[in-house]
Symmetry: C2
């Protein structure tokens, strides 16, 4: 974090430099992390809000908590120039992005899909919906606002509005096709 | 495009270098573009599929065409390493991103919102839905797959499946709350 705060670009970070800055030997680093990518993703994860505790009361409640954690991540990334730059630079390194994907993104996606499967079992979600697609549908609006449109609103009730709008459907209720 | 194909980083592109490569004077460039950002966004836009022709037959049909154009953009960006790198680098320059946003993203968003407003007027979309939020909901899944998950599926029927899933709603049709 100190090196990142000092503005050292990711490409110039090496295990050797990290070890020197931390005042330890390279072997100490390699005992915990197999490489710079893995270490870096851990550092990044430590700066993010922790994974949410799901209430487990309903699919709707769990989804709102999951989306709210994405909203908080978006706000954190906006307020921290370091975090924002690191995210951007990470996307330019396929190896680093793959490490971030397997450590942070994929588990969150599995969590979302699991919530949706429970919803199908208890009748909150249509059984014929592809849960992978449904997961992208629920998280999409949060990611669009956090990642693509850095000046867009992330209001307090956004998670709840997205979930309820999606569950209710977008077609008018009195429509013959609904 | 030649400079980008040669792998020149954006930070090293200057109007002077562009003019020299094109064999023209700097004044010739400045007659059409006020700066390097504006020129660059135009170059980028010229490599993307053109904006879609909307059939205008229904909100559903228009939305499918709009989302299909996002899917094609996603496929184009994946197949072109230049395009992908340029997108990534662009995100690290707030000035360049702002130029891209106002030239490419904002008009596309206005188009989506306009389609949705027409849908509210002709009864295809619930009148109480926030159209800005609804637009993020429709485009979100496409952007998640194109931008965040470079190895995810972008199948041919994705646009149609997203639109129909959203219009139908995610709650089971026989649910008492639906």
């Amino acid at each position: 974090m100190k090196l990142l705060e000092d503005g050292v670009p990711l490409a110039e970070l090496s295990i050797e430099r990290i070890a020197r800055t931390a005042g330890v030997g390279k072997a100490t680093i390699y005992r915990r992390w197999s490489g710079k990518e893995e270490l870096f993703v851990d550092v990044l994860r430590s700066t993010e809000p922790p994974d949410p505790e799901l209430p487990g009361t309903s699919m709707r409640d769990d989804l709102i908590v999951l989306l709210e954690s994405l909203r908080l991540r978006g706000l954190a990334s906006r307020s921290s120039a370091i975090l924002h730059n690191v995210h951007v630079q990470m996307k330019s390194s396929p190896k680093l992005w793959a490490a971030y994907d397997s450590t942070v993104i994929a588990p969150r996606r599995r969590l979302g899909v699991e919530i949706l499967r429970r919803g199908q079992r208890n009748g909150e979600l249509r059984a014929d919906v592809d849960v992978e697609l449904a997961n992208d549908i629920f998280v999409g609006p949060l990611l669009v606002r956090s990642v693509m449109r850095p000046d867009s609103d992330l209001p307090e009730d956004l998670a709840e509005r997205v979930v309820d709008t999606l569950l209710q459907g977008l077609r008018p209720v009195d429509s013959p096709a609904s």
